[in-house]
């Protein structure tokens, strides 16, 4: 097993473990902190895939901006720990079946399809990504800036004191 494989397994197991804690922990703040850890481990996986720019963006935007927003709202709402409630057996079985079926199908398809034969040489550095963004994807890029503006206006409107 090479160092690359060990790094892959370490990062993916950490990602999944932190994900499990996110959805099982009853305290929202702990959940948010473990979501940060999940995202940082995923940035590690991005580095293993040579997507350096996206790894940086992942940490800056997700772990930095989005999670701070989440923590702000958790503190603002002053949520108490979620009370334990009775889980109805039928619903639990149906839910578990649905999740297992979806993932089973996906993983089955993944492992039964023809494996990729090309040797990966792609490196997601900033320069080629930026060039692509400002040539082939210029229109979506500009629309995205408009979307951010609209989202900002929406948030300002929604946070007004007397919502009409």
């Amino acid at each position: 097993m090479s160092g690359y494989d060990i790094a892959f397994y370490a990062f993916s197991i950490l990602t999944l473990l932190c994900g499990v804690i996110v959805i099982t922990n009853r305290n929202p703040v702990t959940s948010a902190m473990f979501l940060v850890l999940t995202i940082v481990c995923m940035a590690g996986l991005f580095v293993l895939l040579r997507a350096f720019f996206l790894a940086a963006v992942q940490i800056l935007v997700y772990a930095g901006a989005v999670m701070v927003l989440f923590l702000f709202v958790i503190m603002l709402l002053d949520l108490k720990e979620e009370a334990l409630r009775k889980i109805r057996k039928v619903r639990a079985v149906i839910g578990a079946l649905a999740v297992i079926a979806v993932v089973g199908i996906i993983i089955n398809v993944i492992w039964n399809s023809v494996p990729a034969t090309t040797t990966p040489t792609l490196v997601g550095a900033t320069a080629p990504l930026g060039r692509l963004l400002f040539t082939n994807f210029l229109l979506p890029f500009e629309i995205l800036s408009l979307l951010l503006l609209v989202a900002m206006l929406g948030v300002i409107l929604l946070s007004k004191k007397d919502l009409k």
Binding site: V22, V103, G154, L158
Partner: protein
Amino acid sequence: MNVGLEHYLTVSALLFALGLTGVLIRRNLLIMYMSIELMLNAANLAFVAMSRFTNNLNGQVMVFFIITVAAAEVAVGLALIVALYRKRQTAHVEDLTSMKL
């Protein structure tokens, strides 16, 4: 066995399953929102892995767009949750059963 595309896609599928389970089992709006973020991240991982193993940078541009849209979505969604909390004093979906505010 060397780590290949299949391994990354499997991790992505499992992460998606975690997010889906979170949405199904949790009743706290914020945690459900975090689970949705997990699912978005799983899709991102699949995109980046595919992009790397097909030598095509378009997938990474798509992830860039997804991250931006997710940031906007989180801002609007959290503002909605805060507005809802102001009206109802709760963030549990079981207390939010009627559509009228």
